[in-house]
């Protein structure tokens, strides 16, 4: 676009250039104020730019000739006039610059942000949380742990953001606008008006980014605001932030960077950088204020997984943040992002530690009816199953062993854990095992609130069995816990089963023993009828009591229930059958045998099926032996 050089017409060239500049002086005429050159006419714009060039040229000529020309005074006058003209031109160009920018500075286009084709948002499905069934929250009033509700983490947003897995720059404005801006910027900067240029650019582009932020749902929340919000509300804000942040860093900021590079191409060192930072520093800080506030917020167990999500998202974004903000002046942003990341990690660690303490301290005393699975057990096992889903992240984050219980303290009021057998396990695995240890410790304490020792054993059996099932049900969890410890747990619930049987059935089966029934050492037929009747009566009473009580007890796991019943039957039925076989004749030969031999073997077999169903039974249920 260079005009042919015509040194002979120099003066004329200057004069006509000056005329053009003065014509467009917006302080001088209404018309100049109302119209914008670059909106009017391509030709007008070109003319104007040439005029500016001409004036600039004569300025440098004047300063050159100043050094050589003797009539310096005259030249100075000219120079002042030229300066004045330049200033008018620069003021005009500044307005034009601003105007072009504002025309093309709306929020990012919807189709750059949103993906119209996809209809549902794919939540990371492996982070779905189990619905907690049959929770009995007797202590819910003062126990945060029990009050927790797991929800399915699905997004209900109807639109989704475009795939943002890597940096993708979009065109923020048409190429003609960029060329015009470049043309103007070049001239402003070569006349020493760089600062005005940066200021205008920054202020207009910042407002565009602000609009995009609003479209992306990025809010201006203070730390106080975030502290006051309910966790559920925060969870959805975190989800939204993660999606928005990806768009911001990979599309929005990256595109702004590209725009700066285009407009300020080869215009001077680092000017594109200065403009980029001018534009983006504030919004970037605003963007990062949110995860920073989350990382500072009070720690409680339900926050762990969202915080890990936030951590992972930020971790994923970090290389792109470093790529987009790679200059010296943007160091503070990179630093802030890294700081937030490490705070989130710290928060995760703190939450895990807090979780462990909370399990230990969980104070509910009211025993779960029927000796079934305690809500605490469900909650903790669900929680650590989820932890094993986040294994990849947590393995990196959790670096130290659980602090309590590392040394055998002999103190009965705290659990302990032997680490000899746990060589070679990652700290995360140690923590998970520790959590199970602490859980069991707490459950032991709870079992002591049952008045009936049998029920206490049943309770332990149920809960430890549940722990084992949950561990077996999750391959990652099982791999971390390890089969050694799993065996230990299995042994524990089997032993509880044995303890239960001993506690309940020893005394019942005692009724069916041989000794004490034969009298006077006589070998042939000396059976004490009265003793025998006593035995039958006692047995019946005991069995009825046990049957009535333990039918209301519950073993939720079908297989375990069956196994225990079979085990009971295996001891009870043969003993009764043999007892009946040996001594029924003696009863039947006496009066009212039906008072003593109430039940047949089949009756007992049927009765055992009532055990551990969790339902009370009516007295008539036990069929009397009919004769």
């Amino acid at each position: 676009m260079e005009l042919p050089e015509n040194p002979n017409k120099d003066n004329n060239g200057y004069e006509s250039a000056e005329k053009i500049i003065l014509r467009w002086d917006s302080t001088a005429s209404e018309e100049a104020r109302e119209k914008m050159i670059f909106e009017t006419d391509r030709h007008e714009a070109d003319l104007y730019l040439h005029a500016v060039d001409e004036i600039q040229r004569s300025l440098s000529n004047a300063s050159i000739s100043n050094n050589t020309n003797a009539a310096a005074a005259v030249a100075v006058d000219d120079q002042s006039k030229v300066n004045s003209t330049i200033q008018i031109a620069m003021a005009r160009l500044e307005d034009e610059f601003r105007n072009i920018l504002m025309t093309h500075s709306s929020a990012l286009e919807a189709d750059s942000l949103f993906d119209p084709s996809s209809s549902s948002f794919s939540a990371s499905s492996h982070h779905e949380l189990e619905e907690d069934d049959s929770v009995s929250n007797e202590d819910s009033s003062h126990n945060d742990l029990l009050r927790l509700q797991f929800q399915h983490c699905e997004s209900s947003d109807s639109s989704t953001f475009r795939s943002t897995s890597s940096i993708r720059e979009v065109d923020l404005m048409p190429i003609e606008a960029i060329c015009d801006l470049h043309a103007i910027a070049t001239r402003m900067i070569s006349s020493g008006y760089l600062r005005e240029c940066i200021q205008v650019y920054g202020s207009v582009r910042k407002s565009a980014i602000d609009s995009s932020f609003r479209k992306l749902g990025i809010e201006k929340l203070s730390i106080g605001d975030i502290q006051r919000l309910e966790w559920e509300a925060l969870e959805s804000k975190i989800r939204r932030w993660i999606r928005a942040a990806k768009v911001c860093v990979r599309i929005l900021f990256a595109s702004e960077r590209k725009l700066c590079e285009q407009i300020f191409e080869s215009v001077g060192t680092d000017i594109d950088d200065a403009c980029f930072m001018e534009t983006v520093k504030g919004p970037a800080i605003q963007l990062f204020n949110f995860p920073e506030a989350i990382s500072i917020s009070r720690r409680s167990p339900e926050k762990l997984f969202k915080i890990l999500d936030l951590h992972d998202a930020l971790m994923d974004l970090l290389p792109d943040i470093e790529a987009v903000f790679d200059s010296k002046s943007s160091e503070s942003i990179r630093v802030q992002a890294a700081e937030i990341l490490s705070r989130l990690a710290e928060a995760a660690r703190g939450i895990l530690s807090e979780f462990e303490s909370a399990i230990l301290r969980e104070p509910s005393r009211v025993p779960v009816p029927g000796g079934t699975i305690h809500p605490l057990t469900r909650y903790v096992m669900n929680y650590i199953s989820l932890i094993s889903d986040y294994k990849q992240t947590l393995i990196e984050l959790i670096m130290s062993k659980p602090s309590t219980g590392l040394r055998y303290s002999g103190d009965q009021s705290t659990p302990d854990m032997e680490f000899a057998e746990l060589e070679g396990k990652t700290p995360l695995a140690l923590h998970l095992i520790w959590i199970i240890v602490v859980l069991q410790f707490n459950l032991e304490g709870k079992s002591k609130h049952y008045r009936d020792a049998s029920l206490a054993h049943l309770f332990i059996m149920n809960n430890v069995h549940y722990i084992v099932q949950k561990v077996k049900g999750s391959p990652e969890l099982r791999e971390m816990i390890g089969d050694d410890y799993l065996r230990k747990l299995t042994g524990k619930f089997r032993q509880a089963a044995t303890s239960y049987q001993r506690a309940t059935w020893v005394s019942v089966l005692y009724c069916l023993r041989d000794e004490g029934l034969h009298v006077s050492g006589s070998f042939s037929s000396g059976v004490s009828k009265s003793a025998l009747r006593e035995r039958f009566k006692t047995f019946n009473a005991m069995f009825e009591e046990v049957h009535r009580t333990q039918a209301t007890w519950l073993i939720p796991d079908t297989q375990l229930r069956e196994e225990l019943r079979i085990s009971i039957s295996e001891k009870l039925i043969p003993a009764y059958r043999s007892f009946l076989g040996r001594f029924r004749s003696h009863i039947e030969s006496g009066k009212h045998p039906e008072n003593y031999i109430k039940y047949s073997v089949e009756d007992l077999e049927t009765a055992v099926l009532d055990f551990f169903e969790g339902y009370p039974i009516s007295h008539q249920h036990l069929r009397r032996r009919s004769q």
Partner: protein, 394 residues
Amino acid sequence: MPSTEYQGISAPLTNLGRSLLPLRRDQVHSMESPIGGSPSNEVELESFQRQVADRFHDLASVPSDELLSLPWVRKLLDVFLCCQEEFRVILFNNKSQVKKPPMDRLIADYNERTVKALDVCNAIRDGIEQIRQWQKLIEIVLCALGGDSNSSQRSLGEGQFRRARKALIDLAIAMLDEKDSGQAVAHRNRSFGRHNNSSSHSRDPHHRSLGHFRSLSWSVSRTWSAARQLQAIGNNLAVPRGNEVLATNGLAMPIYTMGSVLLFVMWALVAAIPCQDRGLQVHFNVPRQFPWAAPILSLHERILEESKKRDRKNACGLLREIYQMEKCSRLLGELADSVQFPLSEEKEKEVIQRVKELKLVSDAMKEDLEPLEKQVREVFHRIVRSRTEGLDSL
């Protein structure tokens, strides 16, 4: 220890309430020894009070032209960081006491206050950024009028003055308090007449974008208020009662002290630096018995007085450099309005003088703004860290 002696001491306490706290050494002794409080931490606690007092005495003993200057504010933040660090050490040394009630509640209260201070830190960061924007406008003025280092002795022509005037007007608008910004645009025409005397300023995209720009610079929502935040920080900040001091083995005192220090520092920051809804009506009710009460109350009074002065009433921040910037730029603007071309030698000298003054302010700001920003961020980090530590130890 005869029981009658003890009874004699406790009776006036309950009658006279908070003013008769066991603050004097003799009373502390007589209170603590019969109860069996540890004399060991008494030295520590007293030393803390003294340190705080000394530091604030230093801050208070500056002449009025240094008060609320950038270096002074930086010193204030240093003082805060030192006090906070010592406080942390005290808590660490008295770990066992820290977990017992009522200490745990007192610490939780303090932590709540510090969290509220975090938002103030963020608001101040925004304010510093705003000041930086003004400083950039000043650079344009300096560049135009030959105040920057790389312009040679150029003669000052009409063009340069126009350029400077434009930037000065932008600066004046930018520096007006947000609530007055609507009126400001109207006033703009009166003080710097030549540039724009049409009534179409509202259509002027330049002014529109300037006003717009201001509201964008806050990173908090429109409802956030620095005044309210300060009130919240000072909420329930009361001198500990006698029984609280006893129950916490004297530790309630440093907590109260630190709370007061925090409140004052945040208040002073809000007074100095522009932020959204700056209100300075926080009350400081510190009993004079505390050795640091006098300097803090005196500073409070002086700063309040400054805020009520006629030429500072509507300032968006009491920072001395802001005042200087506003004054210098206003004078320069008036001068620029009044000159006629060609410049007389006298006028030129005057302009050069004003430009020199402006440059001094600008350089001072350039030097201190970034370190101040870093310090504010450091305060933010320390507060977060001590809170995390507090959470862990609980």
